[in-house]
Subunit: 320 residues, 2 copies
Amino acid sequence: MTLILALDFGGTKLAAAVTQLGSREWLRYERRLSPIDGNATTDLAIMRSLIYSLLQDATPDAIGVSFGGPVDFTTGTVRLSHHVPGWENLPLKDLLEKEFAISAIVDNDANVAALGEHRFGAGEGYDSLFYITISTGVGGGWIINGQPWRGNAGMAGEIGHIVVNPAGPVCLCGKQGCVERLASGPYMAQDAKEYLFKPANQLQGQQLRSLVNDNLDLITGQIISQAATQGDELAIKILQSGAWALGVGIGNVANLINPQRFILGGSVTKAGEIWWNTVQKTARETALPEIDFEIVSAALGDDAPLWGAVALAESALISK
Amino acid sequence: MTLILALDFGGTKLAAAVTQLGSREWLRYERRLSPIDGNATTDLAIMRSLIYSLLQDATPDAIGVSFGGPVDFTTGTVRLSHHVPGWENLPLKDLLEKEFAISAIVDNDANVAALGEHRFGAGEGYDSLFYITISTGVGGGWIINGQPWRGNAGMAGEIGHIVVNPAGPVCLCGKQGCVERLASGPYMAQDAKEYLFKPANQLQGQQLRSLVNDNLDLITGQIISQAATQGDELAIKILQSGAWALGVGIGNVANLINPQRFILGGSVTKAGEIWWNTVQKTARETALPEIDFEIVSAALGDDAPLWGAVALAESALISK
């Protein structure tokens, strides 16, 4: 029996699971929230306890790891985490290989989730796909010619920072009108808040205001989706603007790379019909008419990185 | 001696050459202008005469073909030519294979030029590159993982029709602010003409006007470059706007695919320092700071499609 250990270091949660090679079900599975004041050391300690609890007396044959931040894939070294301090240049692959005396492969979460969806989810049987996560950030991972494409320096997939409106609002990256600036949950919430705080707009966004009991600081991407479903005009406008930005991004990618499928995951994809329709329509209008593609929802949900980690570990076993 | 026949069906010219497998020089080479009132039949007749003149009594071992328009790569059938009538659904690969009783491979000119630069030019030794031609149109061809990437339906590389300014002028494709709408030679000329025709602007564009003896219909992309070099403010502004659009496109592509190199060819790349500096600067500002890439000039010039056709024919010999 060939045992695979899959690890997911997310920004806010840690998950680990074991499965048998070729299986599509977990043998055992554990998930914990990352401590709020945590750092790389506490995350590693928690993950270690999850692993030993999962493995019991068994020894895995390979380890696959999804990490929520940029990773140097060739060395398996984490560059940094945008959420948790202390990860800078941490040689995660080496640490795991030393502790367990087996091969470990580490990659960033968008690439790993793309691989998970390709191997076990909405991308099965597709030779080319782009997986996009739309959540606190917007990022993507590639399958091209049936293989992950990470880019020359492992930086491919950054659809969040392509410019779709050079006259748009300023993004954290310094540019204006990036997809992430318009389409991510926190930025949509920020735009709603800033608009509603203005005295001139105090009669607008009634459903939004009532969902947060007039405490505008409580507005999130999810609240905006809820308000839009209830017909709140401001919420609909902001949601459509985010979906438009993502749709232009997807249409541009279709023109550039012509993948078979776009697979969308992350919390913002739960925003409902208004959001999905705008994404589909805008992408179709942006792509050339002769370029075909499908935009579908991710199938594996929060487990996409873990199943992608299984696929990474499989590749380690095959290349041995 | 293994002989390769390379053919280039351009929009306005026809070229053919023969070389030995492994050589970097032509044994013989012929080039003709395509007749102005020509069609697919006349182009094929001219090409046939070039081929027999080149081959003399020799028999080639494989044929590689670059075609200036969309091609179904798997069947080698031309979809259409945007310049010459009569090419619709013409089975070019089959025609050549029947006439010469050897393998022929046909692909569109941007893909073939990318392959040529990769195998023999500015892309030698690079595992990932994007070749962009900026001329009457704007198009591109991919090398990813050392191999051509044509997209799911052979439509990858259409950087000309990614949107960089949704508030920009309307493109032939129906969208606003495509790269091609801003950066191609004919569109730059059109923008200059329309501006200068307006009575309010009759004191502007003096160098431009004098280069065409006040016949504004004679303005071309090349004339704009010349006027810009002479300091014409309108010409500089239009050239920079085109270079800006291309630079945003390149920066977006760097974020999405992270190739090692961008290789630029086509007549507009001869526009001089103002153009090149704006492309480089804008691309650098659009790409995330941690994403490295180089933008260089094509090395093979007008012969890139022919040398790419040689590389196509080589792959036919290898896969036999």
